[in-house]
Subunit: 252 residues, 6 copies
């Protein structure tokens, strides 16, 4: 099984390698995980504006990765930006969104979960992601640690402490399972420590997305093409490729 | 009051003029409506892929239009693509999404509404738009006429007949109000005829969005900046402009 | 465009004039707002009992106002008492309920809103109004200032301070938009100051209802007669007028 | 135990007697049911306008009946018009609304129910009643027999046939329990026959309301005064009686 | 009318008699309540494991009690364990679950209720019971007193104090009605005192279940056999009795 | 990784072997699947009565299997009977319910799914399972093939044809993904053929549960012990083992 992890923004090679190594460490036997990233886009994603900014380049990359024969692609942002579009333009490549995957795993393991996201600016869109997954009835709340994405790893201990502190408050509010709402939190590899300290499941969106991708491919499932139809102009042959869907105004 | 209507894809000048004229005809006394369009993007929007394709250029345009002093901007696609992002990057310019505005107007005028959209490929995202607006409990269903956007105006009579036919079925299914789910349907100017024939309110997303924009500006309301926060890197001064949020991978 | 604002209880002429002046100040160009009030009914509305008490006289007044050719009527109580009945007995006159209109405007501008109502006795019915509008999923909570309606204006500063204090608590609880749940709060003209202080949209139910009425009339929409049917005895001609729907027990 | 059944409109003495006899036949041992009716109001209730028309007189009657020492009052219309107001103005008298009581009994006995109401004009308000009861998730649909209230008893056989016919369609649609949504249907005494024919529970709103009233009084429960607060002007002594809540405009 | 109260676990004869006496004291005129208990099962029920443990023996008992001609059976645990199964295997015997019955009575009397359960271990299943009843929209929260079932009666005063303390907090959180979520709390007979102290309805699940059973039998309703079908092997005659549904693996 | 599949009823050895072989064929590299079954219980499960009948023996078996060091147990019935109890009595053994797992996988792959269950008698409980999973908003409907469990395999072709026929109707009703609601359907191995014919994902509950178990164990997650607490008598040491929770009435 060949899975590709797609970083939807430019990332330095060192961090790309570190994440790739972790993914392969997490992978099941017989599974290879490659990592691919776009050459331009947002430096990190902390707003809907940056989510949308990431999509056009990432779409082209995912479209190409399907042609390279991967079994599944994991979207490298826990806001699931562009997930529905990536599913529209792929058929044999199963595209996994880490947010939706995390919420469903959390709902499978407990009764009510909370999401720990990065900044206040991503709280409303996190609520919408849970609603889109159909799981608002299982959600206690979304809380932000208010540490910018690019600073999460600067002081791992401080980040972990903050996550544990907010996690405890959410348990008191009724949550029995937690979801980390950011891939950079996932690659910080703190979920396991949090599980130890808090005594409940803590979903690492990166590792969980990999497991869900392995499960879907292993069971022979891909996203529904009735749910995510091929764009009509492509489906009917009006345009021949993805690129032709993007046009320029005719010069006068 | 100065309102700008923003076409999120390249459109020929003739059609731009025709739509601009209609908007000014619909406008209240003392309201001027300008029309602006991007120079590149999707030819029409019938998929989530095309929705996302339209956003980066449209965002830059709306950002600039705020600086030009407009009171409100109407997003020219009834899928409301990028609405939350446009609201993040503006403060004094009220951004109105025609989909959300139509659903709320329909909910104000009746008990249960149905949405008539263009193609089967936009049905699932229309359900999600209604859910995002919080109005799933007022929705009967979303139905597609299955006429491509760029062909809606080719045979106005056939389009109207199809809309009336599906509208009647939706009334039988329990709807008491209808929403046209596409701006090109709006500018076809068929809603009034449908109202006559069907005897219920039929929301024209273009005209309604203009009225909602006039109402918000007239009452002194803009979108909540607590709901749509300025992207953190901009808010904290880490970047100086919208353009700097888009970066390229450092060359090795 | 001719709009009439209908006070559903006896009100002194001075206050009627003051409100009428404010409405005309708020009105768009080319819009005239008249104000009409019933001669008997509740002194103010702080209970469902008083809501119902206001309806029979107000219904007769609205029925007559339609015959006088008004384009729209605004119901002068933010509990929307009798709204569905007034819509049943009118066709060309668009009847706007300020509560429903406020909730939909709030939902358009942000993600989650709270309602500030007058007294604890109106809290449960406010929750029901939001549910009736289909917007419970967008509601954070309803809170009462616990100042009787007729005393709201006695100490404007104290009322404003209380509204700001409760508003701040609601923002902390997750609201990003506020709705004033009482017309007398609306005519106190404090929403603008609250917007300044709190930095979020604060819906004034009186001013907003006027804008929504202008928008509906401007777009050519009235309430759905499939949703609000003419009372069957009237529709089938069993009775000739509204008055005949009220009968007395035959004397023995 | 003394229960009073309150007819919220003028009704001829013969029919009042017939209904009173049926109620006493249905009553449990040791329970006496009196019947009271207002002297003026709507002839029958098939619209929200007529619902509201019935409330002021009925409220005064119920207020007085509490003083006469009854244990419970059953509201004699399955639209539950004014129920919340009657509960605001009473404390020791338990007021039972037949609609809410029917929906809860249906939900207790099966998984999903449908409501059979009189005319299309009462369908939307029936959906709102179910929603107000919190039971929309248990509802299949509301269907009208489209026989006017005052004609239901003219051809009992035809009415029963129509009810059975629509009932069968609702069973096919997923309902496993039915609710008759009109008191005149209840006093037609067809529910038992429908149960025989259809093989599922059919809730008679009149008989069920009596049983629910007996149950509440028997268990020592009345409606919550925290949910249905005494109107503030009465509670604080600003007015001395219900009548004083109704005032007239001062003559100039 | 003959009703039987079924204790789903072994209980000492003294307590059985005490409960039987209370039930007959609560019963309406002409109603006899017998009490039956199984000879083996859980000592008390504070987990789903113990709920399930109680079902096989209790099912056999209820199956037999129907044959003895009882009109209704009340399930003696406020977790309603096995309720749907008991309804599948009975037809003329109306089976009442005290949890569902309590929630519906609470919803009838107020707007929003809270449930006071025994231990933290029963909180999640209590939320599920309310959801199963379709009433999550009416629920404020479920709170545990954290006194084991078998110790509730050891210090009645302490239990009452704890219930009142938590009840007050729930009223502050928005509840206007309370439900005791345990039959042993019901037979402690504290609901009446709580009503006095807190001024709102407090549902005693034992007494209320009896009243609901009387009401259903009195109105001629039993649970819907379309909702709770006879197990297919029994219905089609593949097995002749309940016992035959339980089989052993063939010895090799 | 060692996973055990638990059959909650007596099953002949041949079928046990066949299912065990299929499971190992489906398993990922490095995963061993054992199969265990109880010696007595229901022959098949087509009612809630049979669901409950299966639990006590299965609970004892699962309790023992945890002690044997398995990583995960898959419950062998797509009604998930006893799932919460099995999770209460285990900690290191992850217990996977195939129904919940199927619904979440379906929700991950599409927008709206339908469930194909065996008989009409299991339709209502299937709706409740979806609601318990929090996914009612993603469900189109539950439909029964009405072939008894023990006859599904008698004519594989007829069963497949029936599934395809109902599947097509559900697609027309709006579903874009299907779930087989019975383990015997899963082991019939028809999901793959259905996927081919219908062109959408069809979840095989057996194979999917295995993949979900592999994913959870692979990611280091077990069910939340805050959601599924150890029964208090066990947790506090009042009883020493599961068996002691089952007691007999003292002989007089």
């Amino acid at each position: 099984m060949r899975i590709v992890y797609v970083v939807p923004g430019p990332m330095n090679e060192e961090e790309v390698s570190r994440r790739g190594a972790l993914l392969n460490q997490w992978a099941a036997q017989g599974v290879t995980v490659d990592i691919a990233s776009v050459s331009e886009g947002p430096a990190s994603i902390e707003s809907m504006y940056e989510e949308y900014l990431s999509i056009p380049e990432t779409a082209k990359l995912i479209y190409r990765l399907e042609q390279e024969g991967y079994d599944a692609a994991i979207l490298g942002c826990a806001g699931d930006p562009g997930l529905d579009a990536y599913r529209e333009i792929t058929t044999s490549l199963t595209v996994v969104g880490p947010a939706a995957a995390s919420f469903h795993t959390a709902a499978l393991l407990g009764h009510r979960f909370s999401v720990l996201t990065v900044t206040d600016s991503t709280v409303p869109s996190s609520y919408e992601l849970v609603q889109k997954a159909g799981l608002s009835g299982k959600l206690v709340s979304v809380k932000a640690v208010n540490i910018p994405v690019l600073e999460l790893a600067k002081d791992r201990k401080a980040t972990l402490d903050k996550l544990v502190e907010i996690g405890k408050m959410e348990l008191a509010n009724g949550a029995d399972t937690l979801v980390l709402g950011c891939m950079s939190m996932g690659f910080l590899n703190v979920a396991e420590e949090m599980q130890e300290i808090l005594g409940i499941p803590v979903i690492n969106p990166a590792r969980n997305a990999l497991k869900v991708a392995e499960a879907c491919v292993g069971a022979g499932y891909s996203h529904s093409k009735k749910a995510y139809m091929i764009p009509p102009k492509l489906a009917t042959g009006k345009v021949k490729s993805l690129d032709e869907l993007h046009v320029a105004k005719a010069k006068k």
